[in-house]
Symmetry: C2
Subunit: 425 residues, 2 copies
Amino acid sequence: MEESYELMSRERLAAEYSLQKKRYEDFKGLGLKLNISRGVPAKEQLELSQGMFDVLSASEDYVDCGTDTRSYGLADGLPSAKALFAEVLGVSPKNVIIGGNSSLNMMYDMIIRSMCFGIGGCAPWSAQGKIKWLCVVPGYDRHFAICEQMGMETVAVPMLSGGPDMDLVEELVKDPSVKGIWCVPKYSNPDGTTYSEETVRRFAALKPAAADFRIYWDNAYCIHDLYEDGDVLANIHELAEKQGNPNLVIEFMSTSKISFPGAGVACMAMGDEDAAYIKKLLAVQTIGPDKINQLRHVRFFKNGDGLKAQMRKHAEIIRPKFEAVLSAFDKEVSGLSFVKWTRPKGGYFISLWVMPGTAKRTVQLADEAGLKLTPAGSTWPGKNEPADSNIRIAPTNPCVEDISRAAELLCISMKLAALEKLLEM
Amino acid sequence: MEESYELMSRERLAAEYSLQKKRYEDFKGLGLKLNISRGVPAKEQLELSQGMFDVLSASEDYVDCGTDTRSYGLADGLPSAKALFAEVLGVSPKNVIIGGNSSLNMMYDMIIRSMCFGIGGCAPWSAQGKIKWLCVVPGYDRHFAICEQMGMETVAVPMLSGGPDMDLVEELVKDPSVKGIWCVPKYSNPDGTTYSEETVRRFAALKPAAADFRIYWDNAYCIHDLYEDGDVLANIHELAEKQGNPNLVIEFMSTSKISFPGAGVACMAMGDEDAAYIKKLLAVQTIGPDKINQLRHVRFFKNGDGLKAQMRKHAEIIRPKFEAVLSAFDKEVSGLSFVKWTRPKGGYFISLWVMPGTAKRTVQLADEAGLKLTPAGSTWPGKNEPADSNIRIAPTNPCVEDISRAAELLCISMKLAALEKLLEM
């Protein structure tokens, strides 16, 4: 365990800088091309679902629940697909709407609907003047990008150890112009935090001033455990129902990281009234999403247990990659008091906090030596983290050997960036 | 050839009524359950594309243009899919954006984009007060339903023999609140009319007052010929480009009636500026549509010739159904001067005009005897055809024998409805 940089003399810092600089230049010489910027499954993970393409063969196979999935109909999804996802989400199939392959697109459409036509019987958001959206930080850049495209004012809510700062959330929703909040409640992006039962209870009991306030519960990593003793997330729908808030939550999930990122199935779950309203709008919007792909998923995974068995296979592949990053951090930077990182039990990311004011420089140094990271700041709305400290690490795509090298290079980069700052270079 | 009803004495009308009423009751006794209400391909047509599920097998097969189609990326479509559709539409692949399985959804999204964010550098439509949309009548009910959901004012433009009344269109677009027009330029829904070259030229040369006016060119039946000597539609993109109107047209098509209605591939083609703008918005909206399904289509159809060969097989199946309807009309109602119908060389519909004021009653009579038709009025905005005369016939789904029976029952129903009116019953 090294001494932390803040305690070192200028001389020792300079020596450390030379040492790390030498290591950095050696890395540069390797001409690496590594990328841990996005949560992209590895090729081996894609192979796990290859059998899905063999489950439908004769024409009769394409008929399900009395519907030929190759033809028109069932714009809100195949009943068997609703049943599969309802089991995973702990809701009734009647509250599930199946979409295409992108849950992001379902979130976007949901916001667009609220902008153009309103939700909960209220006026369209576009007719309500400036509206605000709560963004848990650090968070998912694509969530924030939607707010920005819609011209919303984003309000940052800090992530604490058991979830978002609920005191702040409860205060902020007293403002009727606050219309929603982005939550990734299990294995959050990027922290890997799972909201505590207390947090979920407080969400379910929220009394927002706006009747058209909705919690966007992006449960992207709902069954994405890395370990057998994964985190457990309370069922927000049941809790909200008990609190007399049946339409408060809209939950989203997809199989992008269960089957195929480019050809999975997405869905959402919400209260009865919202579901009826959305189905009515959907009937005009589309002839309905690809039902053959829904049926492939149903036949291949069968039920919740089938999905969970698949996730254990994913975990076998990606757990060593998470551990390679953590092991490099433990070895290289555990002595640096200003560095911290998360140890998620699931999901797709590790969240790293480098010396404040050096995240951008760390990412730049890594990039110049052949390692692409998520741009620093991306975990904040407007891609602007005031402290310039957080970096999201997505270790799933490269092989373990490359992940180890990437993690080492990242450690060197964050050290160099810190040393440059301390040495006022 | 019978004498037309208007020339008959009341006595002869009464006799004719008894005769048709007897036939009608006989039909009723059969307990039929026929449906020619929507343009749904027959099961035999679905089988034509079954081979599509065998073109991808080993994991390497899923890689195309250097991209693993199973993973993320290429939100605006696979380059090979763009090339395939570009060939069919006669545009450059760079002007093609691939969507999910529903071209209707792409049209809807395009209108939503214009409502929320504007198009052509103009203010969002939602901020421009009441906007108007031109609807060629008779036309497609799902087009009109979008206008209605958006709260637009619809303006009916009559269909003439070579396409919409262009004198009227040219006049109407002088109004800057007119933002678009729905066109099904080839084998129009429901008339089966293909716009003449003169009509397409006049569309391409339009000088709308609104810079954000767009022609929504829904080329749903672009290669859907019933006969070898199909209609030819002029290339509106080339003509518009020559007229200095490169962003005037947004064209849509899908393989819903080429491969699978529930699992095809949709696309759109537009000018460079609109394409760049839409791609920017798309990057926030979605992770991109299902690329595996795009690749299946590319590998199965290969090129434009492959698509056209497929359409000849479709024609073999559905041509006899169209002819069964036409033959029943020729036999049963050609002597009735107030009845007319189209003889399309492609597409999915026959348009029927019964005695004014009797379309609703005709549909009701048919329904009560077991034949479901598209609700009368559906071919007009607001489902309200002032003359109550037009009925859309969609003969593709049932077998030829059932289509013959359906057509006979329809003839009896329209006769009874006319006789009831003439006899003031």
